[in-house]
Symmetry: C2
Subunit: 423 residues, 2 copies
Amino acid sequence: MAAAYELRCRECGKRFDNAPLSICDECFSPLEVICDLEAARGTFTREAIAAGPSSMWRYKSLLPVPEDYKPVTPAGWTPLLPAPHLAERIGAKNLYIKNDAVCMPTLSFKDRVVAVALANAQTFGFDTVGCSSTGNLANAVAAGAARHGLKTYILVPSDLEPAKILNTQVYGATLVRIDGNYDHVNRLCSQIADRYSWGFVNVNLRPYYAEGSKSVGFEIAEQLGWRLPDNVVCPMAGGSLITKIRKAFKELIALGLVEEKEVRFFGAQATGCSPISTAVKNGADHIEPQRPSTIARSLAIGNPADGVYAARAIRQSGGWAEDVSDVEIVSAIQELAETEGIFTETAGGVTTAVTARLYAHGRIHPDDLTVTCITGNGLKTTDALAGVYDQEAAIRPRLTDFEAYISQKNDEPELVVEGANVR
Amino acid sequence: MAAAYELRCRECGKRFDNAPLSICDECFSPLEVICDLEAARGTFTREAIAAGPSSMWRYKSLLPVPEDYKPVTPAGWTPLLPAPHLAERIGAKNLYIKNDAVCMPTLSFKDRVVAVALANAQTFGFDTVGCSSTGNLANAVAAGAARHGLKTYILVPSDLEPAKILNTQVYGATLVRIDGNYDHVNRLCSQIADRYSWGFVNVNLRPYYAEGSKSVGFEIAEQLGWRLPDNVVCPMAGGSLITKIRKAFKELIALGLVEEKEVRFFGAQATGCSPISTAVKNGADHIEPQRPSTIARSLAIGNPADGVYAARAIRQSGGWAEDVSDVEIVSAIQELAETEGIFTETAGGVTTAVTARLYAHGRIHPDDLTVTCITGNGLKTTDALAGVYDQEAAIRPRLTDFEAYISQKNDEPELVVEGANVR
């Protein structure tokens, strides 16, 4: 390998120089970036990483960006939090949440992949970038392109959440609404990328883009004190994230940074769009496309690009996949917020609800160290909670009115004791 | 000082043991926490701080929490970002943004102050906490109380933004809407705190709460490589933040962690609620309360608790204060997003617009190292941008339709060259 990374066909293994390419010209299978682990051995050490920035760029030498790349996207190094209150509710004993809903410019894990894709868009000389998106990617590309000074076309299904639409337009991106679902949008983007010399982060830049997700895996391992968890629960849309966290763990093992261990991977989908979890449950080695119908719109990909690889990773690891209803998604959003103070979008509701079910069904042992991946912020999908909370009538700003209010709630608060240390 | 911190009256200097108290019983002036700098000298070193967590808790030994306090709120250590594109637009040459819109559980700087307040609520044995809030504080208290397992009453003006209401209710807090503005709400909370044994973070816990803002100042200095900027531009609501960043800088100087320097502080308000900037401009040493009318609702405090101290800090430092219209606020939100990929709430629009004006008016020299504080996320005030962007009609998912769309935009993209390295 001349550079520190190159492209290889996932199926036939054909090697390609770095280029905006995503499909093998021999066998039409997807291409993947392979990083040169031997070359990284000197720089990818615990000490060098600890001395790096508080962002995903601490792992730069195992991400496919030029050696002299100066990062412009402050993404990653998101909190890995113990979740004792949620754990107690769902019968877990050693549960962590990897919270990508914060410490991200646009509040989802997509900032990671876009950061790597845009670095390569610059290298390849594109002045216009774009994507097909279910929302979070749109936000990340629009904001990233603003920082990089690139022109942007973003194509989305026309039914996207209002917050995700605004959170794309505000950065000055051109947002094109498509009358169709994500799979229609994605097909159109492939056609556009064939015709125009644009960098579509999840089409012709996809191999680079996808590698950005490895940073989730690197962070989990480092934040656990350079060890791997027993289980990872991950939402699945296109299916890429779960495969890249697994790849990150394998790279850490190969470099001797963590002890060898087979981590079990568990995939989470909404029942209204569950092509990958269905394949896992049926033991199928192919994905049957579905027509999505779920409030978890960021996961609503009926024909997932990496579905086969996600199902394979889950099976090989000894994991499982589950899917949950829209009602369960809303409940799980509330449960995570009430127990751990984390407000997640619908996709995080999916992951939380699936995590609970995996414990309930005995798929995960209570004592296992399990990491659940929360990938986006609740302020992105506020419409999913519309009507859930009553808007009570306002009261007048008087103590008597407040006392009437709380007595109606049957609350009898402790009174201030005169002379005690309370104002 | 027996403990590492205690309360002192800001005016008469009377000392108090730690307690949920905010007003001096001698002279009725506000109390402030004073940390024992000498006691912290051994632990508050550059090396010890660098070895600490990637959060505000790296500065724990100069925050008023018990020595054995185990932090539960993963707040702070937010990015300090160079803002070259915005700088170019407004005639600055060395502009940084301290971005508290990310890396915060509820996406505003209020998570910092609430983290410290709730640590003390626990120490004082409160099982119920609350606040009066213009929105961001409500979010932070609700989420923090969920993590701490505390009961919560949150009182807000009835016209709060929908996203801020939902982002309070989702954590299971009781949200009480008050028919009045923030100043009415705050007065009611003082009455409630007098009657019930509850911890109101910005009433009887206010001295502890306010100290949390020092972490912004500590972070700015450390992220600049342990030096102080020339100027800091800060939004002002109650006026506390600006005074506490200044206090943090003074503590760093006293401990020898940074070179001595008089940093100029600049305050930012909305013209529709500008009691502090008006006082600064008029050279007045008192604050004339106003009736707020602005889209920057998180800054809509007409009778700011720390207004006098904020105006004094600005004057003493050689700074200035400005206020901007609602139209300028919206433009500045867009400008910051388009140039730096940062989507801020209305308060951030205020700070950005004021920063631009300070450069335009020559109040800040172009070469100065200036830090502008962005304190909350744009997804919290999406209603402020309602109607700003057209919702274009959706197009069909066909290449011909897309080409018609871009030709209507007068865009003529470069075509893919056959045989070139582009898919």
